[in-house]
């Protein structure tokens, strides 16, 4: 199983991503899509990243997931740059013979993406002000839960998000 990892400015279509995962005849496909929320007068989200590192970080997270669960397919698509409310930011899809494996792998990847990939979000509002999104402590807590659940392939590094 070779994970599909894409980092891109362009909008993407989760349909196409899911369709590829479904074609593998694994039987169970779980996916997560994160979108830009338009609340509080938000007009744009800017996603900055560390180009030399980002793809490697995503590959590592994908490899960790593949080491923990029996996967037939794993896809991560993450956008960078400027995006509008309602647009998709990130897609994680996992295929497996077992629904639990597909769902847990997807959940693991999105949790680790939040804490272990070099992305930073800046929000721009209608009144002209903008602000960098603060890391949420809950993300580090959520990420740590995975070290209790399965040992195999756990990297055990300190979370990069949170306080």
């Amino acid at each position: 199983m070779m994970p599909v990892i894409r980092l891109q400015h362009a909008v993407f279509d989760p349909v196409a991503e899911c369709a590829k995962l479904e074609l593998g005849d694994a039987g169970a496909v779980a996916s997560f899509t994160g979108l830009v929320r338009g609340e509080g007068g938000l007009v744009a989200l800017e996603l900055e990243h560390y180009p030399a590192m980002t793809e490697e970080a995503l590959k590592r997270i994908a490899a960790d997931a593949a080491g923990r669960w029996a996967l037939a397919g794993l896809t991560i698509v993450h956008r960078v740059g400027r995006m509008a409310p309602g647009e998709r930011i990130v897609f994680v899809g996992a295929a497996s013979r077992h629904r639990g494996d597909a769902i847990n792998a997807m959940h693991f990847v999105i949790d680790w993406l939040k804490t272990d990939a070099p992305f930073w979000k800046r929000e721009e509002f209608a009144d002209g002000h903008s602000a960098w999104v603060e890391a949420r402590e809950g993300d580090a807590v959520q990420r740590e839960k995975w070290s209790d659940r399965t040992k195999k392939g756990c990297r055990g590094a300190a979370p990069l998000s949170g306080k």
Binding site: G34, L47, E48, H49, Y50, A52, M53, E56, H78, I89, V90, I110, L113, K114, T115, D116, A117, P118, F119, W120, K121, R122, W132, V133, E134, A135, A157, A158, L160, S161, G162, K163
Partner: protein, 85 residues
């Protein structure tokens, strides 16, 4: 030895550039010491690094703790806690 520094997010904005090449003195051996040394360079740096608890580091494109020895590192990135996904 020369080190390529990279700054991201509000650290980049506070300092006013996205990176530079520096040649810190020999007594700068860890990321934390590098941050202290940079902070003495001016207001932008001092602002960016005022709270070390909010700084994260990657050394040669590997995430690292602030106390990790630089030990011949070529590229050091300084950035806030990540907020992707």
């Amino acid at each position: 030895m020369a080190i390529d520094l990279l700054y991201f997010a509000w650290i980049r904005e506070a300092i006013g550039c996205d990176g530079e090449t520096v040649d810190p003195p020999d007594n700068v051996t860890t990321a934390a010491e590098l941050i202290d040394w940079l902070s003495a360079r001016g207001d932008g740096y001092a602002d960016a690094f005022a709270d070390k608890g909010r700084i994260r580091v990657a050394i040669d494109q590997e995430f690292a703790g602030l106390e990790k020895p630089l030990a011949g590192a070529r590229e050091v990135a300084l950035f806030p806690p990540v907020t992707g996904g």
